[in-house]
Assembly symmetry: C2
Homo-oligomer: 253 residues x 2
């Protein structure tokens, strides 16, 4: 699908035994972990990874992630992910992904990232921060379905959670994919038992830290693309700060 | 070190970008995840994996895990783990591990496992359950330092936790390695900031489930092997059930 090989990385991921859920399949969060890993590897190899940005006083922040999959793998299976930076748009750098299993394409994802200035804690334009290398506009694996994720006004189901130290990553805040998992904690068990999440569109709006009391909420929304969809929110209780908003697509298991 | 190649498996693990903690190194829990994964792979390939035991109405339960490491890897590094079943002793099957990085041996581990009968919920002797294949006694990578882990009577530090749905694995209970992470939540932050855990001896005594309110507790104990050590407990609040007891070894970071 994408031909600029120098700016494309492919990497394989074995599903590890601790990843599958009770139904034997991994949750979509496991695939998000793979996306996060390959994005780090590719940025490192292109000279604008974690440590490269650190030198100019910047750090990467994932702003939004949209992933759709038609199949979730099991233990013993292996995915192969292909990724490429797909261009810069004003304040965000874009990166796309194709996810394959042994039989072919099983999913697509697109992401937007901010190159945050450590001092001002405001985004600097990625084409200035990443100026050592020209990032051409490239095709997308999938496009964000809306300009932004609709905010959930009133959740029908909620879960009260505390961010753990084990949720914190090298950036010192709750890891992006943990936010997906935290949102899922509010999904009613009877729903989670007989549905599988096949897609996510998640917008990261604020950081959370170990010890933060968080509230996950969700509600069914308008069906889309022949699938049930939900809206989710994750807020910090102390200051009512919106940490993430998310939309999810589900199919009967 | 071990020569019976047919009964030995080696497997490589890339440290994934979401695994390192703020100091850039993975926690010892990441290595425990690798042990758990390679144990599942090897049991599968030897014909006594998850699905094989399911057929005779049994399932594996990790009873105890002892791991010591002299170095914790970083993102971009790769470990290579070697494992072998090391014999059966009355009600437990033993399995050992050697952990290598690019420069050589960085750790050793030993584990004991119970082949639990699904119907009676009591252990059956592994040499009866695994009778399709003879498991010879083999050398150990490291031995359990005591007959059992000392129980923590009174914790100096505690943390109140709730088991999440994301903590549950294919067996329907909180994943073994999550128990290690949950125990760590009680370690005082100032200690965790300037020490690294270099060893664990953890005994799994009861299952925990999503929604369970748990209390992690810990206290400094007698130093051992030139290292600070701690005792830990994880108990369920509702019935005061002891979920795990653990001892940990620490060095200044």
């Amino acid at each position: 699908m994408t031909t600029n090989l120098e700016l494309t990385l492919e990497h394989g991921y074995n599903i590890r035994s601790y990843e599958p859920r009770m139904d034997g399949h991994v949750s979509i969060a496991s695939l998000c972990n793979q996306l996060q890993d390959i994005a780090s590897r590719h940025a490192d190899s292109l000279g604008f990874g974690f440590h490269d940005l650190e030198e100019s006083g910047h750090f990467w922040i994932l702003a939004r992630l949209h992933i759709m999959v038609n199949r979730l793998p099991r233990f013993g299976e292996r995915t192969s992910i292909r990724t490429w930076p797909s261009g810069n748009e004003r304040l965000v750098a874009l990166r796309d992904f194709l996810i394959h299993d042994a039989d072919g394409l099983i999913g697509q994802a697109t992401t937007s990232w901010v190159t945050m200035n450590k001092q001002t804690h405001r985004p600097d334009k990625p084409d200035q921060v990443l100026n050592r290398r020209f990032i051409p506009d490239r095709e997308h694996a999938i496009v964000f379905p809306t300009k932004s994720v609709t905010r959930l006004k009133q959740g029908d189901y909620t879960a009260d959670l505390t961010a753990r130290r084990a949720d914190i990553d090298i950036n010192g805040h709750v890891n992006n994919v943990k936010h997906v998992e935290l949102c899922f904690e509010a999904v009613p068990p009877e729903w989670a038992d007989d549905h599988r999440c096949r897609g996510l569109d998640i917008q990261f709006r604020a950081e959370a830290f170990a010890g933060d009391k968080l509230r996950a909420a969700c509600a069914l929304s308008e069906p889309d693309a022949d699938m049930d969809t939900m809206l989710h929110s994750l807020t910090r209780v102390s200051d009512d700060k919106e940490i993430v908003r998310m939309r999810s697509w589900w199919r009967k298991a």
